[in-house]
């Protein structure tokens, strides 16, 4: 029945169309050929050598405008196919799909704070299908302020590879995905006091971590943005989220023709009796448009290890590194052709990963990306288990906007 909700919304189009409505969307197909990491084979029971992975996903967005309010919805559909969904038989019985399928369907959690299970997922052999309403909200304006109720995107912070001050929308800078945002269930109140200061307050709920029949994990969150001067912007965040107290901020300063920004986030131990340690994240970044065609960005960060990590809360830590340095370049060799190259290095383990992309504008609202992901240095085996799962991939993404 939940799968039918987006369909019902579309079928009600004749009613919507009498109002000020906007529709848009995209569809994208990806194919990739992948080689497994030798360490994943030997150490993590990921006993496959190479394989194909095919992905098709799309968004259909609608917006219905009234005088002082609006309704917005986004339906996200994703289908994927790969033999990696069906691991080799084991004498111990059925085995779950290989881990790499979760990486290729990143972000596999399309609603970060999930109070309502408005999604459908089905896996049958080598196929997997997902349907989720990852945005469905009502916004109401009160003067220069705004109240939002429902499932919403929360997107702030300048980090593209690591953005610790925003736990509600994971960055996609290290992936081949570009048109995905995570939803969050709850209520938001946005105060725009003036153009120098805004404050966003969120009350969100999350059921998934306890199961949909279990208790709701609450999020009470504040994000403020202060334009301190023409060159200086400050962000602050604090609140309770995922059973921890969290507080942090971002300092962003224009330095000549560059921008320098830093983020920190402190997370307390779990608020209940569950064993845990406090966590600290930090990011230092530099961004510069070197010429009209060449853009460069450096991000260096620290993500403290969760000593009590288990398979159920592994997703709390975003990057598979503790210390990292990343350098991202984008160069326009033609108005229709852009080259992207990113290198990320785990300073502690020595793990190094390269990402190369060629983005072609095909016209008629179509784009083609050719990409390659290569771990060039495996690093210290003991340092981070997740690094053993990183594969070598080449592939393409063809997307169409409508």
């Amino acid at each position: 029945m939940k799968f039918l909700l987006p369909l019902a919304l579309i079928c009600s189009f004749p009613v919507w169309s009498k109002y000020d409505t906007e529709f848009s969307g995209n569809v994208e197909t990806q194919g990739r050929f992948t080689w497994n990491n030798e360490m994943a084979k030997s150490d993590l029971l990921q006993d496959w050598k190479k394989g194909d992975f095919y992905l098709i996903y799309g968004n259909l967005s609608g917006k219905l405008n009234f005088d002082q309010s609006r309704v917005e919805a986004n339906w996200f559909l994703r289908g994927s196919a790969s033999e990696l969904y069906t691991p080799q038989e084991s004498p111990l019985g059925d085995r779950p799909p290989y881990f790499v399928t979760q990486i290729f369907t990143y972000p596999n959690k399309l609603v970060a704070r999930d109070l309502f299970n408005l999604q459908y997922e089905n896996r049958d052999g080598v196929f997997k299908a997902e349907s989720v309403l990852n945005k469905f909200l009502y916004e109401y304006d009160i003067g220069n302020h705004r109240i939002t109720v429902g499932r919403m995107y929360i997107n702030y912070g300048q980090g593209e590879i690591f953005n610790p001050i925003n736990p509600f929308n994971q960055p996609t800078g290290l992936t081949a995905i570009s048109q995905v945002a995570q939803g969050n269930d709850g209520i938001a109140v946005d105060y725009f006091f003036n153009d120098k200061f805004s404050l966003d307050l969120f009350v969100l709920g999350d059921k998934r971590i306890h199961g949909y029949d279990g208790e709701v994990s609450r999020t009470l969150w504040a994000h403020g943005e202060i334009q301190a001067s023409d060159d200086l912007q400050l962000d602050f965040v604090f609140g309770e989220d995922q059973n921890r107290h969290k507080a942090g901020g971002q300092y962003s300063y224009r330095l000549g023709e560059s921008i320098l920004f830093a983020q920190i986030l402190y997370q307390s131990e779990y608020l209940d009796a569950t064993p845990s340690n406090s966590l600290f994240d930090g990011l230092l970044a530099y961004d510069r448009q070197l010429t009209s065609k060449w853009h460069v960005r450096f991000e260096g960060g620290y993500q403290q290890k969760n000593k009590f990590a288990t398979l159920s809360n592994l997703g709390e830590r975003f990057l598979p590194t503790e210390y990292f340095l990343a350098l991202a370049n984008q160069y326009e060799i033609h108005p229709l052709v852009k080259l992207n190259g990113t290198a990320i290095n785990d300073v502690k383990s020595g793990f190094t990963y390269l990402i190369a992309k060629i983005a072609l504008d095909l016209g008629r609202d179509m784009e083609l990306d050719l990409f390659g992901f290569v771990p060039v240095s495996k690093g210290d085996e003991a340092d981070n288990v997740a690094q053993k799962l990183v594969t070598t991939d080449i592939g393409f993404a063809l997307r169409k906007f409508f």
Binding site: R70, I154, D195, I259
Partner: protein, 246 residues
């Protein structure tokens, strides 16, 4: 001086209200004529190279010299992207991902939506009268028309991308027809041509703006104004971050 004053072509500009002997006033008059106190414009941006052409339909609102909000109406790939300028601050908003991006000075050189116009053109275009010293140069004849030439040199304390811009204005209506942009070495880097003057709500405006980079003469971006409404008013929060993100 009196001989100049009574020249037929310059008399037209005097009648229109421009002080013919003051470059600052000349530019202010042209700015006021083309910008008005507030305006709502519908325009098409066409990016052309020998092999391909791309069009963006844009709606653009402005009030005074420091407030501007533009929205891309098509194509689908960019539809809904908004750009807000308040004083010296500028933001892009990507509604599909609900992402607001502050345009820092590091990005002023970057192309706006893949065109030959830069973020700096969008951010700083209204501050010519504030950020530059202005001085008349000898008139120049280009084709059949003789133009009033103004040398605009960046003030030492201004943060601008172009240290020198030379503007060529028609003596018929005092409006600019050509801008030439020079870098620190005095090398011509690009040329903006304005043409096809039309009248909207009593304001004369060149409706065809063509930007050509010198480095690649086969490429150009044209802005074509389809309609401009000067007799318009905006709500109190129209040029705000809230409206940007609605």
């Amino acid at each position: 001086m009196f001989k100049n004053f009574f020249r037929k072509d310059i008399v037209l500009c005097v009648a229109l209200g421009a002080n013919v002997n003051n470059a600052d006033e000349w530019l202010k008059y042209a700015d006021k004529e083309m910008r008005g106190d507030q305006s709502h414009a519908e325009l098409v941006m066409t990016i052309q190279t020998p092999n391909w052409t791309r069009e963006l339909e844009i709606e653009s609102d402005s009030e005074g010299k420091s407030l501007a909000l533009s929205t891309i109406k098509s194509p689908a790939k960019e539809k809904g992207i908004r750009t807000l300028r308040i004083d010296n601050n500028m933001w892009n908003y990507l509604p599909k991902l609900k992402r607001k991006i502050s345009i820092s000075s590091s990005m002023l050189l970057a192309s706006w939506m893949g065109s030959d116009f830069t973020n700096d053109d969008i951010l700083k275009s209204s501050s010519m009268s504030q950020d530059y010293h202005h001085k008349f140069k000898p008139d120049e004849k280009i084709g059949a028309e003789t133009f009033r030439v103004i040398d605009n040199t960046a003030k030492s304390d201004s943060k601008v991308m172009w240290p020198s811009i030379v503007s060529y204005s028609s003596k018929k209506d005092c409006l600019p027809r050509l801008y030439r942009y020079y870098d620190k070495q005095g090398v011509l880097r690009r040329t903006l041509t304005l043409d096809d003057v039309k009248t909207f709500d009593g304001h004369k405006v060149p409706t065809k703006w063509e930007m050509k980079p010198e480095a690649d003469k086969s490429k150009k971006t044209t802005l074509t104004y389809k309609d401009i409404k000067f007799k318009t008013t905006f709500g109190p929060n129209h040029f705000s971050q809230k409206n940007l993100t609605d």
